[in-house]
Amino acid sequence: MIEFYRVSKDYRGRRVLKDVSFQVRRGEFLFLTGPSGAGKSTLLKMLFRAEKPSEGNIVVNGMNVGGMPVARVPELRRSMGIVFQDYKLLASRTVFENVSFVLKFLGVPIAERRRRAYQILRLVELHHRLNAYPEELSGGEQQRVALARALVNDPELLIADEPTGNLDHRLAEEVMKLFTSVNVRGTTVLVATHDQELIRHSGRRCLTLDRGRVIEGLVEAALPPSAVHRLDEGRTPLDGGPGDYRPPLPRV
């Protein structure tokens, strides 16, 4: 799903990422960690072409991200869901509008937009706050709206930059449960976090960056957790079930 080949990034002559190479398999759940200034956010930004690599190649879902023309960047971004540390919600729009506008510019009819937005908000248990504005929500609720927005388009890749950075431990766990359930449906998840306890607790593969270099975690896990996770229905995306079957997401 994600391939980095000897990627480096310079900012005004300062190298912030140095010769980074790694792969993330489809359906995998990967943590990205490291101290502040290690290059985590830069690496994530390069995944959705908010930054271009100075050297090397990045391939996301078969698309050469670094070399793609600017006109194709929106298409790349629409194929993934992005959760930002500061949520990046539209303050002037309601919860429902924040979630559904992603579908709006995909040309999804209004009735379908309503249905899907409601469904995903139900998943994050915010369906009762459809008409609330972001400023009326707690930090955890805002984070869940951001997650709902990232998921409403049913992306193949979910990227989250410090999604639990502003949350207390209990809310952080809630959000992580959501990520896990999304991953169970077959979505590749990449989460950048400082929270070592969270990483240890999850038992997932973790890539550690320090001063722009990958210092740990290049060895892949034997199997992505989604492959071994069993739901009540008894099927997972890797079971070879019918077509694009994805089991419904459990509620947090």
Binding site: K88, V102, G107, I110, R149
Partner: protein, 302 residues
């Protein structure tokens, strides 16, 4: 097709929502555009009516040669012959004393009865000479008037050529000055819209950034701003036209209430429908240009 329709609907929906969310800014923008278009419209209205005045004055560019009461038919014909021989004269009209009284009665209805009551007909017989367009400004006119005055049957000649020349000069200045002012105001309107839209973009910088990050197509990011500018221009133009019509009606009512015959000559009609449509399209174009200028890459880059 369904997807395209849905996208188009979304585009319009976003434009309307954007205008509504920034409604104070929108109202300010529409007001500024309306003021600009109103000023252009007011100029056009004045120009239109000045043109009417010129037409009226052109009708008045006739030289009126009043004949003495003792003038015979032969005297009148000789005056007419002198006039017809001049290349400055376009047409010659004989006004009998009876016709002169009828004209007075038509023009001054309240005094018509008084005129009827006078013994005999006090109105003199006259010959009206319409000057050609070249004739009005020609230096040879005084010589023609001198020749006519020298004829024995002529009592008096009425023709104020200097006044007409000055009026034409004033109208020419108003036209050229007004045209310059109109162009300036049109640019001003476009500039206003561009800045208002740019300000709106600055206010929505975060929103634009988020839209970009979640993969919104450029059409849906820039399109609503351009459409918004267009709508503001159209609304501003329509508002200006409405205000212009109301002001014109108020002016007409004022003139009617003053019973001033002179003012009645000047305020004659509203701008033609084509000019009104032009103003509306002008506002629309100013909005479109303003919106398009505001969403240029360097302004909308986040």
């Amino acid at each position: 097709m369904k997807r395209q329709t849905s996208m188009a609907v979304s585009l319009v929906d976003e434009a309307i929502s954007g205008l509504w969310r920034a409604r104070r800014m929108t109202a300010l923008s529409i007001t500024l555009i309306a003021v600009s278009v109103f000023l252009v419209g007011a100029f056009l209205l004045v120009a239109e009516n000045l043109t009417g005045v010129i037409e009226t004055v052109r009708d008045e560019t006739a030289v009126t040669v009043f004949l003495k009461g003792t003038a015979t038919e032969g005297d009148r014909l000789s005056v007419e012959r002198v006039a017809r021989e001049s290349r400055l004269v376009g047409a010659v009209r004989h006004v009998t004393r009876a016709e002169a009284r009828d004209r007075f009665a038509r023009s001054w209805r309240s005094l018509a009865q008084a005129a009827e009551g006078l013994p005999g007909n006090p109105f003199p017989e006259s010959i009206e000479l319409d000057l050609t367009a070249q004739g009005v400004g020609s230096a040879a006119v005084p010589a023609l008037l001198r020749n006519l005055t020298a004829l024995p049957a002529v009592e008096e000649i009425q023709f104020d050529v200097e006044w007409i020349r000055r009026l034409r000069g004033v109208v020419a200045i108003v036209r050229v000055g007004g045209l310059g002012l109109g162009v300036l105001l049109a640019f001003g309107a476009a500039f206003t819209i561009a800045n208002v839209v740019r300000l709106t973009i600055l206010l929505h910088r975060d929103e634009i950034e988020i839209l970009r990050l979640v993969g919104a197509p450029e059409l849906l990011i820039r399109g609503p701003f351009v459409l918004g500018g267009l709508a503001q221009g159209a609304l501003g133009g329509a508002l200006a036209l409405g205000l212009l019509a109301m002001s014109f009606q108020a002016l007409l009512r004022y003139v009617a209430s003053t019973h001033n015959a002179l003012l009645g000559v000047f305020v004659v009609h509203f701008i033609p429908a084509t000019t009104g449509l032009g103003l509306l399209i002008g506002g629309l174009l100013a909005g479109l240009i303003g919106g398009a200028v505001a969403v240029r890459k360097k302004n909308i880059q986040t």
